[in-house]
């Protein structure tokens, strides 16, 4: 009985001490860690904790620059009020940032402001640099063996094997002849022996020759069909842009950069201002570090030190991958906006590719094949196609069920003049 009482008492005291401690902790002033979190949430968009200028000035040593801490807190909370009060220092920094005003943070509480100022005054020590940026790039190089080397090795092995076997067979034959009391036979050269063999196997030889000639013809036909077809073309680009990082890892929609795809014949290569929408803030990539992103800054004329576009602009010489001949008309708008085709249908899964590769042959056969089997999605519900759809379904209603599908080809999508005019 006594022990149970003791147990209960212990439990009760434990609960009370827990409550007491939690109250103590909850009324503790916000720590520097909260300051770091608040800074990241509210300030880091425009300010760095170092001396580097982002949108607003860098905050290293700001406590020494401003009149006092109370002023800084007032400024952070509502800089408009400080400006209105005619404060001399406020006017000075407004002029320094070309009249660009800071956001008002009216909903920050006093202790939050205190935590922020504490954090700004005591910035964390420089974080150790990330493990070498090239670590990802320096992944173990896969050793690939050239298939040709394997083939040559096999051939060499077979030649040696044949030579040994020939020698063996020759000496065995001679031993046999010796036993039978016949004179030793001279060893023929390999070529002479082959000639004898060919003379004895005329039909086989004809087959072999036919096979070789046929092989050559087939290979040259194949080679000729590939002339002017760029499939597999995967040129390196002036900036090591990775589609995998942008469209894959960061899940940025293709159209963010290729925004012309629904409005124009061409999907478009983004101008460097589109790169800068994110790279103004992100100057270090996971694979190449700062080197490749510095090339964007160079093209855009962006000075990361000053945080302004002060340098001359230079165009980036991207290499065009997909190239249709001038005599064929192709519109991205038609295929993506109306035809609702996915980018990957023609361009492959770019979220897994580094540089863009031409995945499809882009030959006329390829176009026509697709037009023959693809239905225009949403055609039934699109009022624009209403009468056409009615007419066509009437026309094809006597065909077998699987041929009634109204494909692009049935709408006239393989007429010559549709693409060549």
């Amino acid at each position: 009985m006594d022990t149970t009482n003791n147990k209960q008492r212990k439990q009760i005291s434990a609960v009370f001490s827990f409550l007491f401690l939690s109250i103590i902790f909850s009324i503790q002033p916000l720590s520097a860690q909260d300051g770091a979190k608040l800074f990241k949430q509210n300030c880091a968009v425009c300010h760095t904790i170092t001396s580097q200028k982002l949108v607003g000035p860098g905050l290293a040593g700001v406590a020494a620059r401003v009149p006092n801490d109370a002023w800084l807190m007032k400024w952070i909370k509502n800089n408009q009020e400080v400006l209105k009060s005619g404060d001399a220092y406020a006017k000075k920094i407004l002029a320094e940032s070309n009249g660009m005003q800071m956001t008002v943070f009216a909903d920050l509480k006093d202790e939050e402001l205190k935590a922020l100022v504490t954090y700004i005054k005591n910035p964390p020590k420089e974080v150790a640099p990330m493990p070498a940026a090239g670590a990802g790039a320096a992944a173990p190089v896969e050793k690939t063996v050239n298939p040709l080397a394997i083939l040559l090795g096999v051939i060499a092995f077979l030649v040696i094997l044949v030579a040994i076997l020939r020698g063996l067979s020759h000496s065995l034959k001679n031993i046999k002849r010796e036993k039978e009391g016949l004179p030793e036979q001279a060893k023929l050269t390999a070529w002479a022996e082959l000639k004898v063999w060919m003379g004895n196997h005329k039909r086989t030889m004809v087959l072999i020759i036919l096979y070789i000639v046929g092989g050559f013809l087939a290979a040259s036909w194949d080679g000729m069909m590939g002339i002017g077809v760029y499939q597999g073309y995967n040129p390196s680009q002036p900036i090591a842009f990775s589609h995998k990082i942008h469209a894959g890892d960061n899940a940025i929609n293709c159209q963010y950069c290729h925004s012309g795809v629904e409005r124009s014949k061409t999907a478009g290569i983004p101008a460097v201002n589109v790169c800068m929408n994110c790279h103004k803030g992100i100057s270090k990539g996971p694979i190449t570090g700062t080197t490749e992103i510095a090339k964007i800054y160079d093209a855009a004329g962006w000075d990361p030190e000053k945080g302004a576009y002060t340098k001359p602009q230079k165009p980036i010489k991207w290499v065009k991958v997909h190239n249709l001949q001038d005599f064929v008309f192709f519109s991205h708008q038609q295929h993506v906006k109306v035809g609702k085709q996915d980018c990957a249908t023609c361009h492959g899964d770019l979220t897994k590719m580094t540089t863009a590769t031409q995945m499809q042959p882009l030959t006329m056969k390829w176009c026509v094949d697709c037009h023959r089997k693809t239905e225009v999605p949403g055609m039934k519900d699109n009022p624009y196609y209403e009468s056409l759809h009615k007419k066509l379904s009437e026309k094809f209603k006597n065909l077998p069920k699987d041929e009634q599908v109204i494909t692009v080809a049935k709408m006239g999508g393989i007429e010559c003049g549709k693409c060549h005019y």
């Binding site: 509210n42 005003q101 590939g226 073309y233 899940a251 929408n277």
Partner: protein
């Protein structure tokens, strides 16, 4: 016995030739391949994104971008000038006088949602809390749409920000036309007020300094 050797040797020869024909060396990724009549691809006329050589008056040559900048002051057809300047005054004026000319209906909001998914979501996040994948990699995340400052943001200021950019955000005018910007703003309002927007009392005291009628492209 002899027959077996013959068959084996025949198979060896045939197999060897087959491998020789099918094993092609890996092609150079930087080369488009064999071309016959390359003018089919490389036309004599200048392509848009290429470089061309121009002669200067002093007899020297320059290699410049083929697509030139339009003459200063050129405007596209159907273009409406945006009257608010890219500064603090323009920003506050846009907040006061610039209003959404498009009707607020489900179709427009739905289009706005699609556009938001393409042009905004990677930084601002699907729910608009500033928690997009790219947003988390920026020096600081974009502010949440439901924060006090942004809940009080007038639509004109939103439009101004998308047009010119603000702080870390760049201008999205090259990616979104005016109608599309308004559609995105309608969707942002939906994110801010999932249960419908409160009816605002129209500010009758403000008289627009410049009347702006966003005119979309005729389709």
């Amino acid at each position: 016995m002899k027959k077996v050797t013959n068959i084996i040797s025949l198979m060896a020869i045939v197999g060897g030739i087959t491998i020789a024909f099918t094993s092609c060396s890996k092609r150079d990724a930087n080369s488009p391949g064999v071309e016959y009549m390359p003018d089919m691809y490389r036309s004599p006329s200048l392509e848009t994104n290429s470089f061309s050589v121009v002669a200067n008056a002093d007899g020297t040559f320059d290699t410049i971008q083929t697509n030139r900048l339009p003459v200063a002051g050129t405007i596209p057809r159907g273009y409406m000038p945006y009257p608010y300047t890219n500064d603090t005054a323009g920003y506050s004026n846009a907040g006061k006088y610039l209003h959404n000319p498009l009707p607020k209906n489900d179709a427009n909001v739905a289009e706005g949602e699609v556009l938001y998914g393409k042009y905004c979501v990677h930084c601002h996040g699907a729910s608009g809390q500033g928690d997009g994948i790219v947003g988390s990699k920026l020096p600081g995340p974009p502010p949440s749409y439901t924060s006090a400052a942004l809940m009080a943001l007038p639509e004109g200021k939103m439009f101004h920000t998308i047009t010119y950019g603000k702080n870390m955000m760049g201008s999205h005018a090259s990616q979104l036309n005016e109608d599309e910007r308004w559609k995105v703003i309608m969707y942002i309002h939906k994110l801010q007020y999932p249960n419908g927007e409160p009816v605002k009392v129209a500010d009758t005291t403000a008289t627009p300094a410049v009347k702006v009628k966003a005119k979309g492209k005729k389709k």
